[in-house]
Symmetry: D2
């Protein structure tokens, strides 16, 4: 149930409505927009049947939410969510590009990469410190040391950073360093991790699971939102299908579908979607054309010797060329980059 308050609703009015809802045994989520305040009542809505919410002072309208996802649904907020990450606005008319290596490997490589992607126009730096790997015998990332190297690169370039959280026990450590917490595809239904991310006071980039439906993707975002954190970026990165000529099948239709269903910003990761660098450029252009709010692209200064995902990483010069191309497509669809 969503309770939309009138424009001039005072704090007292908000509190009064909240008390009524809590008194009936439901919990409450308050969203203060530019123009008006919206209150979400979460729980068994039949308990509200005895209360005339519409008759309360300051209440403009009351609407049920029919979708299983409530706080992240488009019904909850017609206006798209814009997330501010150190001055970089995500979800606005300007598209944002997150770039960097799959995993942080050394201070030189991460600083060089950060400098290069910044010069090309990327506004946020990615880099894995804790790496989920299919094999226990593969490189698992530098861990806490990797976070420190990322922080160093941030200091040198001013770029905000994003890195992946794999374990609830690392939440505090990671939040100390990063500007955006990433939840990887394999952990999209790791509900304890989602709950921790929801409690963190940092924006979260949530990747779609390899076989997650769009509904399940939004339900996982709802886990984060239900803990009070609505700064969520959704990221499509390819789903698993029968086709083997690409690592995954990038589901670009998910962008307009998500734009209908949710107010959250939607990103595309063409690097994981395709699995080979030669396909990254056309898919990145398609992502901009289809309406994505941003991109996450793997860039490595020396892909051949990358410890992880070298095959799908762009060299800095290819990335810079791509950024030029993307700017033209962005303008063609009424956006900027």
């Amino acid at each position: 149930m969503i309770i939309v308050l009138k424009k001039d609703a005072t704090e007292d009015i908000v509190e009064h409505v909240v008390e009524k809802i809590k008194g009936a045994g439901l919990s409450v989520h308050i969203s203060k927009g530019k123009e008006r305040t919206i209150i979400g009542a979460i729980g068994d809505e039949t308990l509200l049947s005895g209360i005339s919410l519409e008759a309360l002072p300051g209440v403009e309208s009351v609407m049920p939410i029919l979708k299983p996802y409530k706080l992240v649904s488009r019904e909850f907020s017609k206006e798209g969510t814009v997330i501010d990450v150190g001055g970089v606005r995500i979800g606005d008319t300007e598209l944002q590009v997150i770039a960097g290596p799959c995993s942080v490997e050394s201070i030189d490589s991460i600083v060089n990469c950060a400098t290069a992607v910044k010069a090309a126009g990327a506004r946020i730096l990615r880099g894995g410190a804790f790496k989920p790997r299919t094999s226990p015998y593969d490189f698992q990332g530098l861990g806490a040391d990797g976070l420190k190297l990322l922080a160093e690169a941030k200091k040198k370039t001013g770029l905000p950073i994003i890195s992946e959280l794999m374990d609830p026990r690392d939440t505090e450590l990671i939040c100390e360093y990063v500007d955006i917490v990433q939840i990887g595809a394999r952990n999209m239904q790791n509900f304890r991790l989602l709950t921790e991310a929801g409690r963190a006071r940092k924006p979260v980039l949530l990747k779609r699971g390899l076989s997650a439906t769009i509904k399940e993707f939004l339900m996982s975002a709802e886990y984060i939102a239900s803990q009070g954190n609505s700064q969520i970026i959704l990221c499509e990165r390819g789903i698993r299908t029968f086709e083997t000529s690409t690592r995954n099948t990038l589901d670009l239709s998910a962008v307009p579908v998500l734009k209908e269903e949710t107010h959250l910003p939607v990103f595309i990761d063409p690097s994981h979607g395709a699995g080979r660098w030669g396909l990254v450029a056309p898919l990145a252009k398609a992502a901009v054309a289809v309406g994505a709010d941003g991109l996450m692209i793997e860039v490595h200064t020396d892909p051949e010797n990358a410890l992880c995902d070298g095959a799908q990483s762009l060299k800095p010069n290819k990335f810079a060329m791509l950024m030029d191309d993307l700017r033209k497509v962005a303008v063609a669809v009424g956006r900027t980059l």
Copy 2:
């Protein structure tokens, strides 16, 4: 095996090489390009081991083709194939849009639709006369009458027409009317139909099957080419995955993959890919951005009362707006529309 002849190779030289190959028990496919002639030797290549093809007069080089598809492979022709359909060039820098209703329903509706899509910039008219339908109790198309209505619409508007061939026994009838023969997704591995289409002297638009890999898609094109017809347009129209929020999952990655693997033009059908009209516009833009050579879009003057696929058909005014948007994206990626 591909035998590339020297620039000045005469007819006598061509014949001599052909005789040698046939004498060894293989068959031959001759492709005369602008600059030089290429001969494809099809069959058991070990039979050629006794012949020094490279030593024959006029032969520049001899290359094995490692892919299972030969005539349609990029190795066979570095240059992209351009197909001329009544002056409309498919596979060139200019993108082409095929538009029209799912099925032909009446003379008025098809002429009105043809006039509208032509005005908006479409250069080819689509319309189903024979319709493959999941249920035997659904409308199966007007058949031969539908073809006549299409011909009427062609006469009135000058637009070349495309319609689907479902049965080998209809090949002659269909070829009498259409400018492009369509093979539908459900018939992508109807090998007898492919063989008939290969014998027809008309361009063929081949749709990818719902669960066909890209390799299988190309093998089906090879069936057509192996009969001597290399005027083939490949059309991605969505694959079947676990996701149910769209009718199919449009595999836009297929475009750059196909562009690497084959010299044939590649189209996208966003209408079937998405299954609802609200998603057609963003997916069409993405298709142009990802590098497709053209689009096939369902347009109906009265979608609510369409006998087939109304939910995914655009009204003419929406289609005209989309064409304007597509022109901008085309320019942004260095093409025209």
Copy 3:
């Protein structure tokens, strides 16, 4: 709409009901069971609203069929369909095994194979004469000559034969030889072929398409039934999924689901489902345990030199051992073999 007649309904009563339905503009399907006659009214059921079918003499009850498949639905016939093929009863308590090579290759090999599978307990001989092959350069079957060899093997062993129909133009030819017409997986939605099979007066074994839902599978069976041929055997042979360690994923759950939805017999083809002979035995046992009415198994006297599908073919001795094992499982689930 299904009209169930009383036990003692005479021919006159049947005709009277039929006239009423046809008079309203619907077509009619009559099914004479052991105990009573059932009339299916196919078409726009609202046209029947003016007629009190229940009030007609001899009518016991009238039921709408809510499923999109009518004639093949379990609602249409509670009793399972039993098909008699030259004395071999398919769909009864006794399970039936169809066995033989992927393709007919020579008179010796087919007769030897037929003799061997008969000795092991198979009751029907399979063998491809027209072969659908992914590549135009692969062996396409012996065609009409293959049918003659099959007929020879039938003469020698007394086994009824089954072979695949790929082209509507071959229907008459094939029906001249075979006891069961096979429609392959790739042609499951080749609606013209289904229509021809429906007009043939032979039992049809319909294979499930690689990406066909169970509903679509039944709709294709309905195409055949709607032409008046209800002697249809459904055959699950593996669906296409992301898993690559098997050629396809054999969907054994389809058996109990189909048993709920339809009265038609259900077979399993573990050879195509698995794609390697080592998996055929366990999957065949599972098929019997899950409730299949029969199996279709590829057997070849010399798999290493088979022209087609050698990897998934059993040698006759392995097949004989498997038949012994299957008999035990059949008994364990209350059936015989």
Copy 4:
């Protein structure tokens, strides 16, 4: 690399080989079988090139393992692993059935259910205390209280218990109560959780992820084994495909494939595979026939009011009937139950 020692190899010999391997910079996994000791050398095998392992005293043979999974591979141990859980032998000729409710709800319901499934022949009790749920608003399990109730049911019936671990932080708590730790499908690639399970000194039942290939499934088992815990039961529970008539597609082919690839016991969970109770019995029979070592079946005394997965739970009387049927199939394939 696997080093197989001679039958009479002493502890000194083992230590000597281990030192050599460690000295070269690899780590070591020792497996003491009934007959002989096997040493696995894990790491960069090229570092061993300077050492003649075969020449060391007590070494019988040295074999490379070509598969990416080492410790869990069939190459590592020809003999199947048998896991003893409080006297219940898993992986032996006798099949074992794990049964119980999806989630623990109350002391009465769990004790009644445990008593009933024990009477029917189940040897291990399942029950979720921590539940992974798609929606944050659904019942999440009783947590630690649920574990206590399970322990109570164990005390009353003597049945060992299994329950799911969702969070690395709960490992100690869960291991205090359960006899087998379950890792759910959604956490199959939660590598931190796998690592914790590998450090626990309890058998682990690992469920296959919804879109995990068999290779990935085994790599996740390898994560557990690489921590020194080789008491792993693999459990297939359905994969995600395009088919929607079942909740998932139970991949029974996975059983014989896994039996070839690994020495670990393989279970089937037909309840999750099918998603509706009516399909559980046929699929359970198929699982026994295909060669599974055991089953995991959801049983609830009052499915209609179950807090979770009621639709796929059997009532105790149906379960008892199923167990009788399964016994017959087990015998038919040379096993007992």
